[in-house]
Subunit: 520 residues, 2 copies
């Protein structure tokens, strides 16, 4: 019997793994580090896409982007996809949400199937299976599905849009300025720290957890930070300085004709044009680091409350991010593409079960992926017997010191850049912009639809500075990596209306169904 | 303006292309030949799987098996899949069904979404988008969704199960015997020919067409023959003799250690054990050929009625099959696998529009596929502007003498043999039994999950007798064919909740939605 009764699934948005002190980073994150000491750090955790929507849909469905089909931020999650919420509901449980999911409702699918949009089922389908306590995606002003705007007004921030006017605004001597303009992110936000997004959502989570009393619960606490707008409240806005921001990675091919055409096309985007200037990166990084430190501080509050209430002993805690960001490395800004700054994320899992005692504080090098979360949660809650269409695997054995047979020896990630300006720079149609990464312990290979591949020798070039995708000497390696991707593509779960167990039960049973073929 | 007002989509079940006289076969099919003279014969028409369910779901959705997910006969068609019926309903039209679809309702999906099963929507979803006038899949006794059992009883066939007792039974001197036992298929069925399955369903179709009057219509007339049980009514049971049944193809590797392991595993199935005996093939082929001749005769009746009512001038007519069958060739019985006997089907399309006059009676060598039907019908009905998730292409240009740019130069087919006994022979799990064929004008290559590939040199070996899949001399060819499959797998339409046109419209529009990223 597992002692796990609750699951706390904490996600940060756009948080780079290499910024956290427990992963060797420059931001001191004592509470996250303490979490790592109680659990396992996964050193090779990859997300299924380096952008919010598709990465999160993989976390929430346990399926790869090619399987769930929500290939970019604006793409609705099909009503046909089973989410973590579906599996939990089937077992009489639920998953509550405080914060961001980036689920885009499949309104057309809901309407086609005649589901009343305001029914319990319609609400749940539109929310990707989450019970939305307070939904707030963070990149536009909070809407009615969040209490944040009212909360701000109740605390004296008088505005129709207190987010734009206070949370992501600053007020230097010359008047109110916006955090959208990155030149302003050295200034403190106009909200007091206790009223900031991170503080507010932590309060929502704490209140909800307390309200559950002894009832088992599953909560997705999903911070919108340190994602842009990079506006930190005092004192976090000034916690770091230029000198703290570390090296900025530059490769010999950056911006040259040797660079991959898609990477070069991304350089035309605003965020890359801005971040290609080292001064911009040095100006923004301190705010990003401050926002990260702030998340850590509130997690400290949260973990302390769990400890006080005894919940640390029966709660599985996950801390991770939907993807990272470049912050000027390689002269790039924002996310997408397949460099480790973006697709390799922090992941810490604390399993309160005593069987996990031996792994506490350890680092695990095996490849794990966003798709592994759903099966991990289900197994931890004793719901492993519920069949799923998940393409991931439960991490529980790894947490409990076992290495399951045939554990994956590579991670996969995908991208659909059809919505991005880079597509037009490259003269491609909306359906011709897909890419697939496979990353082993030695190599990272990226297949780009319509272009040459990328290849990096992670042994000799761990920072992925020299793209060997066009180097004739590595054709054998590329063929091997392509073969891996072929197998992965061919092996995706296409059949979603019957389980393997159903098929096992029905194999070669036609005679029992009155079908007597082939009899002489 | 197209003159097409109606669509008649005729499908036979398990009909081999090479049996029809207009494709060089030994069964004289004057009415199908006349259809060919009025339209276009597609010489390289491939189905997306060599077995009823997945092949038909590709015909009905316009999507490959890996995309629609109904990977075998028993697998429900997900409610999320858009069918031809969906596209037509969106345009205020409908598609009527007389005969077989093999659609397995996605009961779990319908229930999960709270759709009332007996509502119009529930009925339509469960039927794969068809308005079922008379649904009869033909491999078990007709159920209440067909009027056939009552019709038989009304015509004097007194039985609770007149299909088993009369239609697929014979009555030699020694008593009543079943057509399930193939030794009996030289005998005439116990039904009179006008009451046979093919006659009955033609009557249903004719009556329905007449009832439409001048209202435009779309009808899927889907014969269950010449599929087993191979019981033909007189005089068709005796129309052919052993001497008419032609050569039986045998290859040098058949049943040897050089044979592909999956093919060898199929030989353990009853139908292959029976058909591996030439005497069985010679005994069954005449019945199969008789059933084929009978379909032709009833199509003659149907086409004559269309002619008389003027419908030939405004009706697009398609004649095809869901797959073929071995009938003892290679010592195999039934279907599946990827030989041309099974996956290359007859396909004739008559476009009444005068723009198609120049192609009448011609043969087209370009590769066409089952997935092309939905876009063909929609374009013919002037509904091409409805965006679809189809992976096929309209055949209308080919019918009207154009060769669209970038027409495919290969056909693809798939198989999931997880339900078959062969899986257990091979010791594989239900989810480990997939195969993918790609066939160009020169080569046929088959990727088998977990096994070596198959390769056939169609130039030098058009009967596919020598499998070069393990021959070291052909590794370059295999690599080229594998690369084609890779591109096909990578290019499947994963995103089904947004159209390309939506993405075109929304590309790089984040600023207009208030998201001001990357601005310095």
């Amino acid at each position: 019997m597992s002692t796990v009764r609750n699951v706390l699934f904490v996600m940060c948005d756009q948080l780079r793994r290499d910024h956290l002190s427990c992963f060797g980073g420059r931001v001191h994150t004592p509470h996250i580090d303490a979490l790592a000491a109680r659990g396992v750090r996964f050193d090779h955790a990859y997300v299924q896409s380096g952008v919010c929507g598709p990465s999160r849909m993989s976390f929430y469905t346990g399926r790869y982007m090619s399987s769930h089909g929500a290939t970019w931020n604006s793409v609705p999650l099909s009503v046909a996809q089973h989410t973590l919420g579906d599996y939990l509901h089937k077992a009489g449980r639920r998953i509550a949400l405080a914060g961001k999911t980036h689920v885009i409702p499949d309104e057309a699918g809901i309407a086609r199937l005649g589901v009343a949009r305001d029914s319990a089922r319609g609400t749940l389908l539109a929310a990707g299976g989450f019970d939305e306590i307070d939904r707030y995606d963070g990149h536009t002003p909070p809407g009615p599905e969040s209490g944040y705007a009212d909360y701000l007004r109740a605390n004296g921030y008088r505005s129709d849009d207190p987010w734009s006017d206070f949370v992501i605004a600053a007020e230097p001597d010359e008047g109110i300025v916006s955090g959208w303009d990155m030149r302003n992110v050295h200034l403190p936000s106009r909200v007091a720290e206790p009223h900031s997004e991170t503080a507010y959502m932590t309060d929502v989570a704490l209140r909800w957890i307390r309200a559950q009393g002894d009832t088992p619960w599953v909560l997705h606490l999903s911070y919108v930070k340190p994602h842009w707008p990079y506006m930190a409240p005092a004192p976090y806005h000034a916690m770091f300085r230029d000198a703290d921001t570390g090296p900025i990675v530059r490769g010999p091919q950056d911006g040259t004709a040797d660079e991959h055409p898609v990477v070069r096309a991304y350089r035309s985007h605003d965020e890359c044009r801005s971040f290609s200037q080292e001064s911009v990166a040095r100006h923004v990084r301190p705010a990003y680091m401050g926002l990260t430190a702030q998340v850590d501080a509130h997690l400290g509050r949260l973990f302390e409350a769990l400890r006080e209430s005894g919940r640390l002993s029966d709660t599985l805690v996950v801390f991770t991010a939907d993807h990272g960001e470049f912050m000027g490395d390689r002269g790039l800004g924002e996310k997408e593409l397949f460099y480790d700054e973006v697709v390799r994320v922090p992941m810490i899992v604390v399993d309160p079960d005593s069987r996990a005692d031996a792994t506490r504080g350890t680092r695990v090098a095996h490849f794990v992926e966003g798709v592994d979360m759903v099966p991990t949660f289900l197994e931890a809650l004793g719901l492993a017997a519920i069949e799923t269409y998940c393409e991931g695997r439960s991490l529980l054995p790894l947490l409990r010191g076992e290495i399951p047979a045939g554990w994956r020896d590579a991670a996969v990630s995908e991208l659909d850049y059809g919505f991005r300006a880079a597509r037009r720079v490259l003269g491609r149609g909306p359906g011709e912009c897909r890419a697939f990464m496979v990353r082993t312990s030695e190599w990272k290979y990226i297949h780009w639809e319509g272009f040459r591949p990328q290849l990096f020798d992670l042994g000799g070039d761990p920072l992925e500075l020299v793209d060997l995708g066009a180097d004739a000497r590595f054709e054998t390696i590329r063929a091997q990596m392509r073969a891996r991707l072929f197998d992965w593509l061919a092996g995706l779960r296409r059949r979603t209306t019957l389980h393997d167990a159903d098929i096992e039960r029905r194999t070669a049973t036609h005679r029992s169904r009155g079908i007597h073929i082939g009899i002489w």
